[in-house]
């Protein structure tokens, strides 16, 4: 990752210096080694804080909605660093006319999988002050206030990277990557299948338990590149379903089902929802369910694989399956 990182940063500087772009959307170093934040750098000087490492999981596509328009208004171009999975979101936003493509320079960056600081903490590390990637490329040494330890990278990957869709970029103007595309990593629908195999009562209990944690902070929605509505129906009093957190009500379920439905066929499975959920709710299980259903009912479809696709929910064939054919899954 180190090598790609250096090249990415150098190239971003170069493109800024030569005037190809006047802004760079990347990740800015933070207080700790792991808390880099999405940031749009506006000067070559400021790029000293640009980082690209194992903790740059945030998907920058959504930021291009505002920034591509702003860049155009200023007569410049914004460079955006996109990991392979991020490019799907970028394409989907292009499909929906949300990004002014001509104002964006996509620098595709290779990715070997992002680490999740929360998962490192879950391994029992407290007071983490740093990590080093070991020479084997498979483990991290974790430094803490209370001593050092080691952890396998595979065990602390962000969920979306655990089920990486592949190392290929769907769109880019320039690519910096050392990765061969080995295709998807793991079976991303395994979690969905596991749930489907449960009895309805167990499924209900599972979701009841998970969703009762929801605090309706809207992080999932606000981070989601598909949830890019100017005003969400859940924020719009005129919509009739606007709501704010209310415990013991139906609202959490309603919120998550509707949200999943609204992004069905548009969700690229970028995994941001699960990554940002402060309560650790596996929200991707909603979206992957829809992706799996769509694939099974209407044929394989990957939102964002290319710009301009017609999504499965704004499409049909005369011999689509009947809703009645969607039968009870699993036992009783």
């Amino acid at each position: 990752m180190q090598r790609v990182s250096e090249r990415v940063i150098a190239r971003a500087r170069e493109l800024m210096r030569e005037g190809t772009v006047n802004k760079v959307a990347g990740w800015k170093a933070g207080e700790f080694f792991y808390d880099c934040a999405p940031y749009v750098f506006e000067s070559e000087e400021s790029l000293k804080d640009l980082v690209y490492d194992r903790f740059c999981a945030a998907n920058l596509s959504k930021y291009m909605i505002k920034n591509s328009v702003a860049a155009g208004a200023e007569g410049g171009k914004v460079l955006v660093l996109l990991k392979p999975c991020d490019t799907y979101s970028f394409n989907q936003l292009l499909t929906e006319h949300r990004i002014a493509r001509e104002n964006v320079y996509v620098l595709g960056v290779g990715c070997e999988g992002m680490c999740d600081i929360d998962r490192i903490r879950e391994k029992g590390f407290k007071g983490i002050t740093g990590v080093d990637e070991n020479a084997d490329g498979k483990t991290l040494t974790v430094h803490t206030l209370y001593g050092d330890g080691e952890v396998a990278i595979d065990d602390v990957l962000v969920n979306k990277c655990e089920f990486c869709k592949g190392k290929a970029h769907m769109i880019f103007d320039e690519l910096i990557s050392d990765n061969e595309d080995e295709g998807p990593r793991g079976d991303r629908f395994a979690g969905v299948r596991e749930l489907e195999a449960m009895s309805p009562a167990d499924r209900f209990a599972f979701w009841q338990s998970e969703l009762s944690k929801c605090i309706r902070c809207n992080a999932c929605r606000n981070a989601c590149p598909a949830c890019s509505c100017r005003k969400c129906v859940f924020d719009n009093d005129a919509s009739g379903i606007a709501s704010k957190a209310n415990t013991d009500s139906f609202e959490e379920k309603m919120f998550h089902i509707i949200r999943a439905f609204h992004v069905a066929g548009r969700c690229t499975d970028c995994g941001e929802c699960t990554r940002v959920c402060p309560q650790g709710i596996p929200l991707h299980l909603f979206n992957r369910k829809y992706i799996k259903d769509i694939n099974e009912f209407y044929g394989e479809y990957a939102a964002g694989a290319e710009a301009g696709q017609r999504g499965p929910l704004i499409n049909y064939t005369v011999d689509d399956i009947e809703p009645a054919a969607v039968s009870d899954k699993g036992g009783n």
Binding site: F250, A260, L313, D320, D328
Partner: protein, 145 residues
């Protein structure tokens, strides 16, 4: 099963204006009875039915929701029910996935000439909902007090 003997199912039926609502009218003029638990909401087309409406019905305490439209290929608006078919297949699958009984939701294609079918479908659906009993899984507790 429901423990409350007085319980009567609340069933919302969304019917498209051109086929199913007319089918319901025909069922009426033909005196083809079905239980009064079914309450019909008229829509221009089955494709007007937003999943939000269905969830809203459940939130408010509905025990079953049925959506009726023209037969695929016969939509008054040509293609509306094709979209309905996809949307509802996915929505119902999701409701099933979160553990809501699959039988609480249904789509039926009923033409304006199918008064008898309308009645049959409603009788059948009500029987199914009675079998499933009260909807306790989805719904706002505040509405149930």
């Amino acid at each position: 099963m429901s423990v409350n003997a007085d319980w009567k199912p609340r069933i919302v039926a969304f019917c498209c204006n051109w086929c199913s609502y007319a089918g319901a009218d025909l069922a009426g003029s033909s005196r083809l009875a079905y239980p009064a638990d079914v309450k019909i909401i008229r829509e221009p087309c089955s494709c007007r039915v937003n999943p939000m409406f269905i969830l809203k019905a459940f939130e408010r305490g509905a025990d079953g929701v049925i959506l009726c439209g023209c037969h695929p290929g016969d939509c008054h608006y040509s293609t509306g029910n094709y979209y309905t078919r996809r949307r509802m297949a996915l929505l119902f699958s999701m409701l099933d996935y979160i553990g809501v009984e699959r039988g609480r939701t249904r789509v039926e294609w009923v033409s304006a000439a199918e008064g008898a079918k309308f009645s049959r479908v409603m009788n059948d659906f009500v029987a199914q909902i009675r079998e499933l009993g009260e909807n306790v899984k989805v719904g706002d507790l505040r509405c149930k007090e």
